[in-house]
C-alpha cells in the first residue's frame, strides 16, 4: 500500500472475482491483487451438460493467471482467516494487507455433510455428486450404461448455486433415456425439501411452464424430502421427514455452505454462512471497505454466474465511490438468470430480480443456442476479461 495508490485485494478467482479484478484494473488507479488456492478456472454451467456430451470438460477450463490481465497480481495461496479490524487477510503462505477487500470465494460443496453421500461416490458406481467436475465427467459413462430403473436427483436444504441445474439434469436424462429406447423401463425422480419444484414470486411463471413439461414427460417431483442419509449398499436415500426412495442411479446436489475461513475465522458473516452485505450496494454492513459478490454474498437472490456478473458492475462502481469518499449506489436489484434446458435444442431462460420476473417463460431453439453455443464464449472472452457490452 502507498499513500496515493490504494491496494484492492480480491479473494477468489472464480466468475465474480475474475470479472471484478479485471474491470477494476481498468477503472481505478490501484494495485489489484487476486488470491486463490488453485489456478484452474472451470466453467461450472458445463457440469450438467458434460454427461450428455453437449460440452467437454477439457474445453471449459482455463488457467487463472492467463484470464487475469498482466497488471493484476495473482497469488496462489489458501486463505485461512480475515481480520477486517486490522485490514489483513491471513493465508497459509503469507499475510496480505488491503485498503479495499472484495470477497468472492464462492461456497463450499460438502457431499461429506450427508452420511453416505461421499462414501457412495467413493465406493460404488451409482452415486455421482455432479456439482464436482470429476463426478460430472464420470456420470457420462453411468448414464450411457444405465439400463432402466430409477434415476434420482436430490436437492439439499442449504442454498445452492445454480438452482436450475438439478432440473436440467433430470430433463436431459429423461431425453437421453427416451432416445436410447428405455423410457418405459425408467422412472425419473427429483426431490426438494420445499413444496415448489422451482419457486414462487418472481419464479412463478417459469415454474408453471416446468410443471407442464414434467407432466407431459412423466417426470416425478417429490416435495418435502430433505435428504438425511444415503444408504449406498441398499441404494436407498432416506429423508428427515421419514420417507425413503430407492435408486438405480443417483445424482445428488451436495449441500453447500460458507467456507470455514470466512465463517469461523472472520467476523464478516455476522454469525451466518455468508458475507453480510447490503442487498443493493453489496457493501459490508459493518466494514465499509469490504464488498462481496457471487455465491459467498448473503443476498436473497438465486446464486448464478449471471447474478455475479451484474453484481460485479455494482461492486466496481461502489469500490470507486468508496475510494472517492462518495456514498455507495444501491444498484443491484437482485438480477439473476437461469437458462432452463428442457431437451436438446430447447430451452427457456428464467430471468428475474428481487421483485419481478423479467423474461417470458418461452421455450425456444434460440435460447438453447444462446446457452450452449454463445454464452460460454462470452463468458471466457468478454465477461471474464472484465468487459460487458451486453445490457
Amino acid at each position: 500500500m502507498t499513500a496515493n495508490r490504494p491496494s484492492v485485494l480480491v479473494l477468489g478467482a472464480g466468475a465474480g472475482g475474475t470479472m471484478t479484478a479485471n474491470a477494476l484494473r481498468r477503472r481505478l488507479d490501484a494495485d489489484v491483487t487476486v488470491i486463490d488456492k488453485g489456478r484452474t478456472h472451470r466453467y461450472q454451467p458445463a457440469y450438467y451438460l458434460i454427461p450428455f456430451d453437449y460440452m467437454e470438460l477439457a474445453d471449459q477450463e482455463r488457467d487463472t493467471r492467463e484470464l487475469l490481465h498482466d497488471e493484476v497480481s495473482f497469488v496462489e495461496d489458501e486463505v485461512t482467516g480475515i481480520d477486517p479490524d486490522d485490514r489483513r487477510v491471513e493465508g497459509e503462505a503469507d499475510s496480505y494487507e488491503y485498503d479495499v477487500l472484495i470477497t468472492a470465494v464462492g461456497n463450499d460443496r460438502r457431499p461429506d455433510a450427508v452420511p453416505g453421500m461421499l462414501e457412495g461416490w467413493n465406493r460404488t458406481d451409482s452415486v455421482y455428486p455432479f456439482y464436482h467436475a470429476s463426478a460430472a465427467a464420470a456420470l457420462g459413462d453411468a448414464v450411457d450404461e444405465f439400463d432402466g430403473g430409477r434415476f434420482l436427483v436430490t436437492v439439499p436444504d442449504t442454498p445452492i448455486k445454480c438452482g436450475g441445474a438439478p432440473l436440467k439434469l433430470t430433463m436431459l436424462m429423461e431425453e437421453h433415456i427416451r432416445k436410447r429406447g428405455l423410457r418405459d423401463d425408467a422412472e425419473l425422480v427429483m426431490t426438494k425439501p420445499g413444496a415448489e419444484v422451482f419457486g414462487t414470486g418472481p419464479k412463478a411463471p417459469y415454474q408453471e411452464r416446468i410443471e407442464e413439461i414434467w407432466d407431459e414427460r412423466d417426470i416425478t417431483f417429490v416435495p418435502e424430502f430433505t435428504v438425511s442419509e444415503v444408504d449406498y449398499e441398499e441404494q436407498v436415500v432416506r429423508s428427515a421427514e421419514g420417507d425413503s426412495l430407492e435408486y438405480d442411479l443417483y445424482a445428488p446436489v451436495p449441500p453447500q455452505y460458507g467456507h470455514e475461513f470466512v465463517v469461523e475465522n472472520s467476523p464478516l458473516t455476522d454469525g451466518g454462512e455468508y458475507v453480510s452485505v447490503d442487498d443493493n450496494t453489496l457493501q459490508h454492513e459493518t466494514y465499509p471497505e469490504v464488498f462481496a459478490l457471487g455465491d459467498n454474498a448473503d443476498v436473497p437472490t438465486s446464486r448464478t454466474a449471471s447474478a455475479a456478473r451484474k453484481q460485479s458492475h455494482v461492486v466496481v462502481d461502489n469500490v470507486e465511490r468508496y475510494l472517492d469518499g462518495r456514498s455507495p449506489a444501491p444498484d443491484y436489484d437482485g438480477y439473476t438468470a437461469c437458462p432452463i434446458l428442457t431437451e436438446e435444442g430447447k430451452a427457456m431462460i428464467a430471468e428475474f430480480d428481487y421483485e419481478d420476473s423479467i423474461s417470458a417463460p418461452i421455450v425456444s431453439r434460440l435460447n438453447w443456442f444462446l446457452d450452449v453455443n454463445v454464452i460460454p464464449s462470452l463468458y471466457w472472452n468478454v465477461w471474464m476479461r472484465g468487459y460487458d457490452p451486453v445490457p
Binding site: D36, K37, G38, R39, T40, E76, E78, D108, P111, D112, L118, W121, N122, R123, D125, P129, H132, A133, S134, A135, A137, A138, D141
Partner: protein, 81 residues
C-alpha cells in the same frame, strides 16, 4: 522407494482443491482407467494422504508412494480394482 523409479500413467492435478476434492478427483479417474494404471494425484491438502490411504485399502487399490514436492504432494496410486 526413490521417487524417480515411479512413473505415472495418468496425472491428476488437484492442487488448491480442498477436501474432499482431491480424493473425489482420484475416484473419478479411478472409475475411468484400466486395472494396473498408476495415477499420480497432486494435492496441496494435508488431509489427502490419510483419505487416499483409507480409500485405497477399502477399495482394493494401492497407495504406492507419497512424495513431498514442497508446495504439494504427489501421491502415486495403482488402480487394481
Amino acid at each position: 522407494m526413490a521417487d524417480t523409479q515411479l512413473e505415472a500413467d495418468v496425472t491428476v492435478n488437484a492442487v488448491g482443491s480442498s477436501c474432499p476434492g482431491p480424493l473425489m478427483e482420484l475416484v473419478g479417474n479411478a472409475k475411468d482407467v484400466d486395472p494396473g494404471t498408476v495415477i499420480r494425484l497432486q494435492s496441496s491438502n494435508e488431509g489427502t494422504e490419510p483419505d487416499v490411504a483409507e480409500w485405497s485399502e477399502e477399495s482394493g487399490n494401492e497407495l504406492l508412494d507419497v512424495v513431498d514436492r514442497g508446495d504439494h504432494w504427489d501421491l502415486y496410486v495403482r488402480i487394481d480394482d
